[in-house]
Each structure stands twice: as C-alpha cells, then as structure tokens.
C-alpha cells in the first residue's frame, strides 16, 4: 500500500501507469483525472504525513500495489444489496458512498443484512463537502473506470489479492463508554430520534440532551461484543424535539455516551501500533475537527478525513485501517 497527497498531474500519471487506486479530493480535482482502475469521492480534508490540512487542489491517493486484479463498479441505491456479488474469491472490496444520499441511508440501515457482507473485508468511507458548503454543496463519488460522477449510489473497487495473502480490517476508536453515564436505548432505527429511553425512562431526547448539558462532541457508544461502535451527534433541535445523528441508532442496542479520550493526536500516538504507511486508513472529519488534527499528525497513519467510515458497517468518529499480510499471520479479517 502506498499513501500520498499528490497533485492532479501526478495522480493522473499513476492512473495511466495502470495503478489500482482509491482517491479523495475536491470535485474539480477528481473530474480532471483520466479513466482507469480507480474510485474516488469528494473530501478536501486530509491527514497527511505532515499533518491535517484542507486542500482543494491536490488529491489523496492510496495505491493498492499488491492487487493482482481489480474491477470498478457503480451500484445504484436499489442494487446496493448486491455489493458482495462481484467481488473476487480472494480479496477485498473498497466502497465510497455520497454523504446524505439515499445510498448512505440504505447502507447504514440495512448493510449488515446483505448476504455475505462479513465474508470478506469491506472498507471505505462517506464522501462530503467543504464545511463552508454544508447544506449547499453535494457530496459526490466517481467511478474512475468510466469517469462518471454520482450524487447517489456507491462506487466499489473489488481487488484480488495474491495467493496466500489476506486483508486485515480493523478500527481504531479512542472512545469508550462512560460506564457511569446512563444507558440509552431507542425504539426505532434511524438517523434521527425524537424519543429515547434513558435508564428505562422515556424522554424527549433533544430536551434531555439540552437540559443535561450533554457534550455532543462525544459520541454515543454501543458495545458490539467488545468492539466499540460510535454514533455521533449531528444536531440537537430542542424546539422541535429532534436529534440528528451521522449514523443510525439501532433499536434495542444499548448506548452510553463516551468518555472524553483527551487530546486526540496525543492519545492516538500513545495507543496505536503498526506501520500506517503500509495500510489504507481513513479517519473521521469529526476527529479532525474536535481532535484538532489540522497541523497535527496521527503518526504514520494518513488518509482522507471522511464523513462516515466503513468497516463492514457505517461508523462515526473512528479510524478504519486495512492491511494485507501473509495468510498464516492473519488474526483478523
């Protein structure tokens, strides 16, 4: 794996050389790239080797130099449930969905039920826009095979690995449940909620968040058999009794608010091992913002700052990492 922030001409050179790539950048930059074996999505925030930065001119390129074969694919929202059908027998799939699109909603709500989803690594992210353009800009994805750009649906890059090689997909989540915080559950799945049950008591959730001075920079955290999975607050509208999230809350799952991890970059450096230069990774735009990553690094782990992260399912405020190694050494998939 090779990760680098590079100019559009440099990225075009890698594409023309036949490299298999995943690319993040501004819409203008992505549109300027030639067709080839790549997929892309809009984000202008990056955690580069020299620190976090906003950059509309350059693109962040991850090269899958171990790929033995690849195919790009666009799937409409209605076909998303087929996303595992065209993958290679031995490999991995990368995916990018446009933020706030119907595909984003569909995948977040139903992806875990797609046939065979957990049989091979599915890693990716949600595209976004410059934060000044929230509400007006439209996140996009691009199928580099055709050069077509989309506001809905998903682009996938299926990759075949060499014999004896497997991909490890995992997450780095610095947030853990605050065990002293109340237990929160919801009656319905969704990206928004009017009511919640707080320690079993039904409440107007927006009102409860406001009255209790909840720090909405700290996500709700669910315990998935020991894996901490976040749902981040997007907005709290106490007047209309509505809380919006960046990923769906799931009915019946028990959430607690997270403890503050402390200074993100420092805690990250102290707790994450491995060589990020040999992995694909992406980190959440909220970690970039709340964790004040602009100008700061996350060690050797570089990649786009994204508007939702995918490690099989949608995640928030999480770094997703994928590496490739010899089969006998693999501990996770």
């Amino acid at each position: 794996m090779k990760n680098a922030l590079m100019s559009v001409p440099e990225a075009a050179g890698r594409i023309r050389a036949g490299a298999v790539l995943m690319i993040a950048g501004s819409e203008q930059a992505l549109k300027a790239l030639p067709a080839g074996s790549w997929i892309g999505g809009t984000s202008v925030y990056f955690v580069a080797a020299d620190g976090g930065r906003m950059d509309k001119d350059n693109v962040f390129v991850t090269e899958l130099d171990m790929a033995r074969d690849s195919r790009c694919q666009y799937l409409s929202t209605g076909d998303l449930h087929n996303l595992t059908k065209d993958r290679f027998d031995s490999g991995l799939s990368l995916i990018i969905l446009p933020g706030m699109s119907a595909a984003h909603q569909e995948f977040a709500l139903h992806g875990a039920s797609y046939r065979g989803l957990f049989d091979a690594p599915l890693m990716g992210w949600i595209s976004g826009v410059h934060l000044d353009d929230l509400g007006t800009g439209v996140p996009k994805v691009i199928d580099g095979g055709t050069g077509r750009m989309y506001e809905d649906g998903a682009v996938l890059l299926h990759v075949r690995l060499p014999a004896g090689q497997v991909a490890d997909l995992d997450i780095v989540n610095l947030f853990v449940q605050d065990r002293s915080a109340p237990r929160i559950t919801f009656a319905q799945d969704g990206f928004s909620a009017h009511h919640a049950f707080v320690d079993g008591q039904k409440v107007d959730f927006a009102d409860w968040v406001a009255r209790n001075g909840i720090d909405t920079q700290l996500p709700l955290v669910a315990d998935y058999a020991g894996a901490m999975i976040n749902v981040s607050f997007q907005s709290v509208d106490a007047e209309n009794g509505r809380v919006d999230f960046y990923a769906p809350v799931i009915a019946g799952m028990e959430y607690r608010q997270a403890k503050s991890p402390g200074a993100y970059a420092d805690v990250f450096a102290a707790s994450v091992t491995g060589d990020g230069t040999a992995e694909i990774s992406c980190n959440c735009i909220l970690n970039y913002l709340y964790g004040k990553l602009e100008g700061h690094t996350t060690g050797s782990f570089t990649g786009p700052a994204t508007f939702g992260e995918i490690a099989y399912i949608l995640m928030n405020q999480t770094m997703v990492r994928l590496s490739v190694r010899a089969e006998q050494a693999s501990q996770v998939a």
């Binding site: 049989d119 894996a227 999975i229 799931i250 019946g252 099989y312 501990q331 996770v332």
Partner: protein, 68 residues
C-alpha cells in the same frame, strides 16, 4: 477446530458475552444476529444456521471460535 454445537452457537446469540480477541467481522456479525433474534425470537434457529455457515465458510474466523 471443529464448528461448535448448536448449543454453543445458540448461547452465543442469546448471550451478551464479549468476544475478546475475535475479529471485527465476527463481533459485528454476532451483535447483528443477537439483535435480530431479540427482535424476533422465532428466527433464532435461522440465526444459528447463519452463524454456523459463517464459521464454516471463512477460515479467518476459525480462531474466533475459541472466544464463543
């Protein structure tokens, strides 16, 4: 390691045991199956079958069996 019995898989789905050291795929899948079985207890046997098929199909998950 052989695939565990239906009893073990059933206990895994009905329980809330932390699968310490298991792969991310196994942890998310088991949690997903637990939730589905909780919402619709009549589908429990289907979820056991689904979990059995996952372990049978995926060599990477074999190491996870010891966490059940």
């Amino acid at each position: 390691m052989t695939t565990p019995s239906d009893d073990v898989l059933t206990r895994t789905i009905l329980g809330d045991k932390e699968l310490k050291g298991a792969s991310l795929a196994t942890r998310i899948l088991v949690t997903h199956l637990r939730r589905e079985a909780s919402v619709d207890p009549a589908c429990l046997q289907d979820k056991v079958t689904e979990l059995r098929a996952f372990f049978a199909k995926n060599p990477f998950a074999v190491n996870d069996l010891r966490t059940l």
